[in-house]
Amino acid sequence: MLIANGLYKNFGGKPALADVSFHVKRGEIYGLLGHNGAGKSTSLGIILGMVMPDQGDVTIDGISVLKNRSKALRKVGAIFEAPAFYEYLSGWDNLKILMSYSGGFDSEAAGKVIERVGLTKRVHSKVRTYSHGMRQRLALAQALLPEPEVLLLDEPTDGLDPEGIKWFRDFILNLRDERGMTVLFNSHLLAEVELMCDRVAILREGKRVFEGSVSGLQDDTPVFEVDLAPWDSACELVKSAGGEILTSGRISLPHAADPAVIVEALVRTGIRVRAFSPVRRSLEDLYMEILNGAPSPN
């Protein structure tokens, strides 16, 4: 549905993107992760035609953004971290103006979307009186009004309270489930990305350093948190079973190894087993490993 192909971009001679490619499938929620300055926003800018790439192209449903931006963006809605509406106008007027750029304003459709995002009571108030959460709801309304097939989310939950974040997440997941919407999700909130995304790409210094499915994170080598004594003897036994010592208190075992058998062997050799529990490898662990080359310190 959305294909970024070999994107390169330099700002003042400094590379912002170098050969970044990704493919967001129809109905998929795809996360774009990375530090500040990793190239996430530049990628999003190129997708929306705000930034011209030095090389490469983006196609949305087969239409090139570079060659035919207007046509390509007809099926796209976007939400930004701090959506800058016209403060001196009402939410309703903002929607009218923004929709005039998307082929026209339909007040009936707008009413339905506003009701869906829960902004009916305040839509005729000036935007300057809105809270951050209300602005995000209005941002969602403006993004959904053109009935997009692709939704681009740039740090949409930043600054929201936990309740707002959950509401937003559920809303997006519903959109995907009900309408099969394709979503590109750019966020720093790794837990959110993990809860929402099917696949993720990690960018570092303008390069894509990882792409994979979120569920696939658990398919890697099983990791266990252990408290064993004496530690040296335990390490020898773990190694002889094909395992690896990651840190003091953390080991990994090969897929074939049965943890129960290892625990039994440890006990049998007189090693005290105070703790032996599997560690769920989070996206944060993976992120930290990739970006820092080391596991997250927890």
Partner: protein, 282 residues
Amino acid sequence: MLFFQQLRGELRKLFARPRTWMGYGAFIAMEAVILAVYKLERSQRYMKGMLERNGLEFGTYYSSLTITFTIMLLSMFLLGSIYFALVAGDIVAKENEDGNLRLVFARPISRLRLLLIKYTAVSLYTFSFVFFVGVSGYAMAVAAVGWEGGLFVMEPKMKVFAAYPEWWDGASRLAMAAGGIGLSMITLSSIAFMFSCFKIKPAAATIITLTILFVDMILQGFPFFKPYESYFITWRMSAWVFMLEQNISWPKIIESYAFLLGLNISLFTLGWLSFQTRDFKT
């Protein structure tokens, strides 16, 4: 049809901003001051002397039309230019500064079309504002001296001197001249608009525009530049006064407005080229 919907939205934004209305308030105040000066006995005496020296009757030409002409002559370049530069300098640069353009760029609209909408809105604002000044100035003058009387025109810089004893002749000429001022002022807005399309702050766009205008006016006043006065923007912008000449010289007027039209197109194109090739980073 969609263009008009987009234009309506642009005008809605323009007129919802307090600074757009500042000009209206300032002009009403300025008109009141000019009227108050006109009502002073000393200025009436001065005007009477000037009219009688030219063989004209004070009773006929001390009128609402003459006062309206004076208001438009005095206020447009000095005060009007500030507000036109302010509004046109803001129209793109302010939206970029505030981040509104990000939301607009998420829409399937081309940059050229967006600029055309904004430029049309600014031009309409400029043109209609001139008529507002004319109509409000006339209404206030009528309240002060009555509606009757002719029109007396004296503009030494452009060497225009005319007198219309009949109200209808004077009013129709003044209305035509107001249209000319409106067209002239679009050039000023075009300069500010072009700078607004550049990667600069809105205030910078306004200040640079006013600088260009005032430098142009000052240089034009130097005797050395007298043979070249027709190359100055402000001289061309003053061509509206020719519409008040007893015998209108259309070739002279058309030449000036063709010059301004060409300039406007060039300014828009330069602004568009800058806007089109810029990256708008999120």
